[in-house]
Symmetry: C2
Subunit: 193 residues, 2 copies
Amino acid sequence: MQNLLFEFISKYISLSEKEKEVLTSLDIFRTVKKNTVLLKEGEHSNNGYFVLKGCIRTYYIIDGEEKTTAFYTEMEGITPNCVLNKKASEYYLDCIEDSIVTVSNPDMESEMFQKFPKFESLCRIISEEHLMKQKLDLDEFKTTSPEQRYLSLLQNRPDLVQRVPQHQLASLIGIKPQSLSRIKSRILKNIKN
Amino acid sequence: MQNLLFEFISKYISLSEKEKEVLTSLDIFRTVKKNTVLLKEGEHSNNGYFVLKGCIRTYYIIDGEEKTTAFYTEMEGITPNCVLNKKASEYYLDCIEDSIVTVSNPDMESEMFQKFPKFESLCRIISEEHLMKQKLDLDEFKTTSPEQRYLSLLQNRPDLVQRVPQHQLASLIGIKPQSLSRIKSRILKNIKN
DNA sequence: TTCTTTTCTTAACTTAAGTGAACGTTTTCT
DNA sequence: AGAAAACGTTCACTTAAGTTAAGAAAAGAA
């Protein structure tokens, strides 16, 4: 399992054996069962996660309704809001598949940054990269229709369309499950003609 | 003008006189006239900007139509996509007011990081903070209606509603100018009753 | 200033998403 | 295995955004 993490990191910086040992010694790997809730609205957690296998979802409960806003799958990391701003979490995190993740917190981070400044570079670069992607995602959302967003999901995240319940997918593209059903049949109809 | 920048930075890290001098010596301050286009679709630029005064806008041209996706005002920074991914820019940047900005590029950055590792911490922290905000923005967009988004703008960015053309605001919340007009009159009507 | 262009609003009509309900299917639980 | 819950789809109806067009107001250029 470590190797997956090392491979990921090595895309950004090179790791010495010493550094790998320190990382391993932190004992950060956890297996999490499907449907486990990792974070609830209102909680103050310090845990950040990195998905090695499986899928984690973020969702809000607004007017009693679940609103799914993101999925994190293999080689994606999540630092919940409440870890950074020290406020109560506004959303939930749960595991929608049996998963293997790493769990870390800001104290471990600062310790690593002090021992190996390289890790702070790693985190800066990854943050900047994610920030860039996140902005593009918002831009895409602002400039496209629900149907276009569904087609783009089919293109760019075909795995998600398969592994995730449709009503959560609908939420992800900002519509109701009934509308997603309608969009699908509209697309099918247009293909046939 | 420097002082504005130093004040901003001092919210994150403390700056010695030496460091301030080095920053000043970089000669990064520029004034930019209203309507100046700072970046065009297809260009490869290395310039990042930080707005000291004024307003910069990002927009796409999709099917011949301008789609505004963001505004950057006082004390906000922009590192265009193309600087990080080294690909042709997908969007435009322009100045919608006479502005004062700093201009920097990755080379200057790495030089600063080497001379003063503190600056890399600064950039990591700011990146993480922005990433958090950006995710919240996307979550809000996914979970709200255009009308709610407009009301939230009135609340959270009343300055923008004043200083920005309405058709660009409409685009920002993902609708057409006609729909924004409609939403405004709907809101007015509801207040009266 | 005057002319031109851009911006904002309103209106009528079209299109697509929201809503509430029904129903068959799948999954989950015991 | 059997009952219950959750899920996905379809339908009829409602609501809101898109479209096209027109006209008034504001901003910018000559």
